[in-house]
Each structure stands twice: as structure tokens, then as C-alpha cells.
């Protein structure tokens, strides 16, 4: 199933939402596992997003200009005794894209069980 250009998949919206939450809480730059953790905190099952799904989605969002990323300084990571992180940050388009996604999804009529449970 092909999606329309400019639309977000549910996971991509979750990633952007997590990224904006981290940004608002003062973390200007964050790594992939940090995003997975924030998404899991908002999930009932509290499961971390799988590696392949997460990093593939992050790559798509970066290619679309909705996130930016770069490797952190290797010396800083070595001083802390850990592998260096790929650090992501929100861009000017992040919040706009998420807002548009929410507007679009709120207009869509509920389907399946959601429709059954909607008064």
C-alpha cells in the first residue's frame, strides 16, 4: 500500500511527538534509544520499538527534513566510556508536520472497533 506524499505513518508521528517532547523538556539533541524509550512510556505495553523499524523511520524523517542528525564528538563519548551517539534534533518543519498529521487524522471517520465504540 503506497501512502500519499507528505503524510506521516503512525510510527513517524509517534517519533516526531517524542522528539518534540524531548525538545520541550530541554533535550535539544537525543539519540535513537532515547526516542524509543519515550515512545514506550506512552505505550500501554511499554515495549521498545524494534531496531529495524525505528532506524528506518528515523532515516525517512531525516530525508524528509523533519529531523536532523549528526554524530556526536567521538572524544566526548570515549571520555564517558561508551560508543558515540547519532544525535537527532527537531527542525522547523517538525511541529508543523505533526500538527498537519493530527488535523488530517482527526478528520478521518473511525473504523472497526473505534467506530463501534464511538457514540
Amino acid at each position: 500500500m503506497r501512502r500519499r506524499p507528505g503524510t506521516l505513518l503512525p510510527l513517524e508521528a509517534e517519533i516526531l511527538d517524542a522528539a518534540l517532547r524531548l525538545h520541550r523538556s530541554g533535550d535539544q539533541r537525543f539519540h535513537g534509544f532515547g526516542i524509543a524509550k519515550v515512545i514506550a512510556e506512552g505505550d500501554e505495553t511499554a515495549t521498545l520499538t524494534s531496531h529495524g523499524t525505528l532506524y528506518k523511520a528515523l532515516g525517512r524523517l531525516e530525508a524528509a527534513g523533519l529531523l536532523a542528525s549528526d554524530w556526536e564528538d567521538a572524544d566526548a563519548a570515549a571520555e564517558q566510556g561508551r560508543p558515540r551517539r547519532r544525535l537527532y534534533e527537531v527542525t522547523g518543519a517538525t511541529s508543523v508536520a505533526l500538527a498537519e498529521h493530527r488535523l488530517q487524522t482527526s478528520r478521518v471517520a473511525p473504523l472497526g472497533r473505534a467506530a463501534w465504540e464511538t457514540p
Binding site: F33, G52, T53, Y55, W71, G81, R82, R84, R86
Partner: protein, 274 residues
């Protein structure tokens, strides 16, 4: 492992544990056919992720086994996305200079032709261990029979993976036996499909190694493998609480192994009269 980032990785703290090592081996495997720069980025990013998850578990007092299970689960469920990503990246690498591209693709092709079913067996074993250990940790261990069977089949697959380089026939037979049970998990279609493909791939490899140019030997080996594969399937489907029937499946397995040994026995060469 090549490239600047990888060299730097070896000098820093590394993610530890069997699960992390398997995940890193899996990453090395599916990034084998993509451009070096893209592969390095993916490998280093996953390596960092594994380290962060383990550090987070330590900081929050969670047992290492819980972190390992979570890592294995994330890897297994992300495997289809990994493969799709690798396919997309390979397609993107078509714009690379021909010589560089040929080097990448030749290595990847050789790796895939020789090892694809071994990789599938490793994924199945990881999934089997994850599910079985997860069930073991449930209060009261409600699925103990299935858990034991899952652990047994996963161990057969893991043994096949380990023995692949030194004892390819034994490895293939173990993988056929181990994957056969996964091939009947209709409630997990992706695992079922992988089980079928891996069992067939391993069986073809065993028959190819044994048959050489003798069709009769190849047929004998194929029948032996069918009997070996039917043993765990039959036992799982029918043989749990029926003693004689359960024994029948074990006898069938023994017959299969005997046929394989007979097929693999060295042949006496007839000397042509001068």
C-alpha cells in the same frame, strides 16, 4: 569491519552479552550488500542503541536477562524492516561506480548463496529462545511442554548454525529438524514461512552435498530428511500424551538418521577392466 567509525568503535566500550553480539552479527549480515558509509552508520547506530539499552537497564536495576530478551525481541521483530531497508539501500547503490558496486555485490552474493538458510536458522533460533524463555518467566510456567519443545528446537537450530562451517551435512540436518516445527506454526505466519524456507534451503544443501552425481544417493538422502523433519512435526501434533505413538515418531527419526548415514557412507569404486 572497515571504515573510520568502525575503527573508533573498537576503541570504546562495547555492548556485551549474547543477545547484543547476535544482533551485531545480524547487522553485519544485512548491511553486507549496501554501501560502506551507509553500512557503517547503521552498524554504529545499532551498537550505540544496544549500549544505551543495557546502560539504561543497569541504571534502573533491571536484570540483564530482561534487557537481553528485550534486545532480542527488538531485533527479531525489526528483521523484516532491516531486510527491506537493505534492499532499498542496495537499489540506491546502483548509482555507485561499477567497480565499487561489483565488489560489494559479489561479496554479498557469495555470502547469501552459502549462508542464507543459516541466517534464517539463526533468526528462528533467536525467536524460539526469546519466546520460550519469556514463557519460562511467566508465573506457574503454564506452557511448560511447549516451552521445552521450543527450547529443544531452538537448540537444534543453534547447533546447526554453529556447525555449519565444519560439519555442513550434520548442520543442515539439524536445521531441517529444528526448522520443521517452526514451519507448522500457522498462528505466526512470518515464522511459519521462514521455517518452511529455511528447512527447504537446508534440505537442498544436504542433498546437494550428499548426492554429488548419484541420483539414487540423493533420493535416499531426501527420504531421510523427510523422515527427520516429520519426527518433530508428528511428535508436536500427535505424540504428546500417546506413548506408543510418540515412540513411533522417534523410531521414524531414527530411520531418517540411518538413511542419511547410509546415503553419506563412502562408495566403493568399481575398477573398469582395461
Amino acid at each position: 569491519m572497515t571504515g573510520r567509525l568502525a575503527r573508533e568503535r573498537t576503541g570504546t566500550a562495547a555492548a556485551t552479552g549474547v543477545a547484543a553480539r547476535i544482533v551485531l552479527a545480524w547487522v553485519d549480515c544485512y548491511t553486507g550488500g549496501v554501501s560502506a558509509e551507509t553500512a557503517e552508520r547503521r552498524r554504529d547506530e545499532i551498537h550505540s542503541d544496544l549500549w544505551e539499552q543495557q546502560a539504561d537497564a543497569r541504571a534502573n536495576g533491571r536484570p540483564p536477562i530482561a534487557a537481553s530478551l528485550s534486545i532480542a525481541r527488538r531485533a527479531v521483530f525489526g528483521a523484516p524492516a532491516d531486510l527491506l531497508w537493505a534492499q532499498t539501500q542496495r537499489a540506491a547503490s546502483r548509482g555507485l561506480p561499477a567497480e565499487q558496486k561489483a565488489g560489494i555485490m559479489n561479496n554479498a552474493t557469495r555470502l547469501l548463496v552459502r549462508w542464507w538458510w543459516v541466517l534464517g536458522a539463526a533468526v528462528l533460533a533467536a525467536w524460539g529462545y526469546t519466546m520460550s524463555i519469556g514463557q519460562l518467566l511467566e508465573p506457574g510456567m503454564p506452557y511448560i511442554e511447549g516451552t521445552i519443545q521450543g527450547l529443544t528446537m531452538s537448540t537444534l537450530l543453534a547447533a546447526g548454525v554453529v556447525l555449519r562451517a565444519r560439519m555442513p551435512r550434520t548442520a543442515g540436518t539439524l536445521v531441517v529438524a529444528g526448522a520443521a516445527t517452526f514451519a507448522m506454526l500457522w498462528w505466526a505466519p512470518v515464522v511459519m514461512a521462514l521455517g518452511i524456507v529455511v528447512a527447504l534451503g537446508a534440505a537442498v544443501e544436504v542433498v546437494r552435498l550428499m548426492a554429488r552425481r548419484d541420483a539414487g544417493v540423493g533420493t535416499l538422502a531426501a527420504i531421510g530428511l523427510v523422515a527427520v523433519a516429520a519426527t518433530p512435526i508428528g511428535y508436536a501434533a500427535l505424540g504428546y500424551e500417546s506413548g506408543a505413538l510418540g515412540l513411533m515418531w522417534l523410531v521414524l527419526g531414527a530411520v531418517g538418521v540411518a538413511l542419511l548415514i547410509a546415503a553419506g557412507a563412502p562408495r566403493a569404486h568399481t575398477v573398469q577392466p582395461v
